[in-house]
């Protein structure tokens, strides 16, 4: 205990490069983005003068009146919803089957997980080629061509080039959601499998002896016990849809009428393609707030629980 101060100093000095780096690169830069979102830097010449004219919330007000951004918000909402539901459902289903250790379960598990190791750039490129609709009905491409060959012309449609929507849900997002679920459902599966292995066999055996059906075992025992894990999965998966930039950028881009646009793509184009720095920064701050609303309570809760 004599060395306490010395060791504390040593501890701090080991941590200090990381603390300084994160302070600048995370908190400092966020502050700077926030600042830019409150001034009028929507052209390159304004950026060069470096003059700071505060315009208050003007950039945000303009943003929320911008039809492209409104479309982006609806797209994010529906993408997030269906992507999470799909990945959780598929992940849980696969983990329940694999947990019974059928023959070849290791191989199946590896097949369902490998997309997590591949770049969105690669998967975006492939899925774009698969979902390219071609011109219907005479000259179908990709999956439409496959449907034609299989005699399932009924399933042919314009995929990510469709401009139809239902209750603000642009159905062109469906192929993007499929690609994202393909990439991430293995993640939920891995988390659930890890959790299932920690549940004592006796509990399930006892329920089975009492005559509980499979569905009852799942809904009354497994699902409640795995609730924290499912919640973690949702927390990890939700921001993915906000971050799906690389996938959408490479698969569909913004699409006709921005049907597959998301705030991340709008932010990138505004900031780095059309020099609307303040618009881009206000989009970035909205994105950050959406993620923060989700993550901060979770982080605080997690750190608190650890202390108990």
């Amino acid at each position: 205990m004599k060395h306490k101060t010395r060791e504390k100093l040593l501890s701090l000095s080991i941590l200090s490069p990381s603390i300084i780096a994160i302070t600048i690169f995370v908190y400092g830069f966020i502050f700077r983005t926030l600042q830019i979102s409150f001034i009028d830097w929507n052209s390159f010449s304004k950026l060069l003068t470096g003059k700071i004219d505060f315009v208050g919330l003007k950039n945000y007000i303009d943003l929320f009146q911008d039809t492209r951004f409104q479309t982006d918000l609806w797209n994010t909402l529906y993408f997030t919803l269906f992507f999470i539901l799909g990945s959780i459902f598929l992940g849980i289903l696969l983990s329940l089957i694999l947990n019974e250790k059928p023959k070849g379960s290791i191989i199946f598990q590896n097949i369902f997980l490998f997309p997590m190791a591949i770049s969105f750039v690669v998967t975006g490129t492939v899925w774009r080629w698969i979902f390219s609709p071609g011109t219907l009905p005479d000259n179908p491409y990709g999956i439409n061509l496959l449907f034609k060959k299989l005699g399932m012309d009924l399933f042919q449609w314009k995929w990510f080039t469709s401009t139809s929507s239902v209750l603000y849900f642009n159905i062109a997002l469906i192929p993007v959601i499929i690609a994202a679920i393909w990439q991430f459902s293995g993640y939920t599966m891995a988390m659930w499998l890890a959790g299932l292995r920690g549940i004592p066999e006796q509990i399930i055996e006892a329920a089975r002896i009492d005559g509980a059906s499979k569905w009852q075992i799942f809904s009354k025992i497994l699902f409640p016990m795995q609730k924290p894990i499912t919640l973690s999965a949702v927390i990890i998966l939700a921001p993915v849809s906000l971050k799906a930039f690389a996938l959408i950028y490479n698969m569909t881009g913004s699409g006709p009428n921005n049907v597959t646009d998301i705030p991340a793509i709008y932010m990138f184009e505004a900031t780095f393609r059309s020099n609307r720095y303040s618009t881009g920064s206000s989009i970035a701050i909205v994105l950050l707030m959406m993620v923060g609303l989700l993550i901060i309570p979770y982080l605080i809760n997690n750190l608190k629980r650890r202390d108990d």
């Binding site: 603390i19 994160i22 995370v26 696969l94 059928p102 997980l113 190791a117 971050k243 705030p263 982080l299």
Partner: protein, 274 residues
């Protein structure tokens, strides 16, 4: 017994359908990339190649070779540096806790969850100011810094499970903070290093947003950006595009196949379990 067999059948049916779904893009990738230039067209996309041709691969490899090197120059140093930083941070934050160390950990961890759009513009300006914009060293710096939260988390969780009594024993023997790290923690850290190195290697290799904003000249771009440019050009040489995609995916796929177990550990670490 009959019910059980029915169930097994149903399970296998689901597994096989899902396997087809998961392997569909791989089929398209492989069958297209091995087609020759005159055999590749939208109408025979689902056919197997008539004869195996490596022409697509050779063309893609020629175009992507400088970018593969860029990616290696980027990934290797960035991975090593962030692993070392994570190990040191994790050691302090798990075994030498002080009054505000939990708060510091929480503040570091937050960096893992932010959408990087929220720091992108100031980051680019900062890199321009220090003369690292558009260069691989600039990208290395970016990945090292934004890798701190996850690498710290993985090491911290790993070290938490090592009994504190071990440290006390070593301290009685006169070892200080650094001595304990060198003689006790570092030698048993190999599994955590493997997890972190695989995780960082995969993530940095696959990363796109930083790569496309921080590098502007094709000669400096990592492979993910080069693949986008290759695929975005209006050429219908699908065999070249798909070959390029396979080349881009290959290193991380190989790592997954060889070190799958460690890869999954890294994956699960992201869920911030205490």
């Amino acid at each position: 017994m009959k019910i059980k067999q029915e169930n097994t059948k149903k399970n296998y049916l689901i597994l096989i359908i899902m396997t087809l779904f998961f392997l569909l893009p791989m089929y398209v990738l492989l069958s297209t990339s091995f087609k020759s230039f005159d055999n590749v067209s939208v109408t025979n996309m689902w056919n197997l190649p008539q004869n195996l041709s490596t022409a697509g691969f050779i063309t893609a490899l020629k175009k992507l070779a400088p970018n593969i090197l860029n990616s290696l120059y980027l990934v290797i140093p960035a991975t090593i540096i962030s692993a070392i930083l994570g190990s040191l941070n994790g050691y302090i934050l798990s075994k030498w806790k002080f009054k505000s160390s939990e708060l510091i950990f929480g503040l570091l961890l937050f960096g893992m969850f932010i959408p990087y759009q929220s720091i992108l513009l100031p980051l680019v300006k900062f890199l321009q100011n220090i003369g690292l914009y558009g260069s691989i060293p600039g990208l290395i710096l970016v990945h090292v810094v934004y890798g701190i939260p996850i690498t710290t988390l993985i090491f911290r969780n790993y070290y938490s499970e090592i009994p504190t009594a071990l440290i006390e024993a070593a301290r009685v023997d006169g070892a200080n903070l650094i001595g304990v790290y060198r003689h006790i923690f570092l030698p048993i850290s190999i599994p955590a290093f493997v997890v972190v190195i695989i995780w960082q290697f995969t993530n940095i290799w696959n990363e796109f947003l930083f790569a496309v904003t921080v590098t502007s000249r094709p000669a400096q771009q990592p492979i993910t950006v080069a693949l986008t440019n290759l695929a975005g050009s209006q050429v219908t040489e699908w065999n070249v595009q798909m070959s390029g995609a396979i080349i881009t995916a290959l290193p991380t796929l190989l790592i997954y196949i060889i070190f799958g177990r460690y890869f999954i550990k890294g994956l699960l670490a992201g869920s911030v379990k205490g």
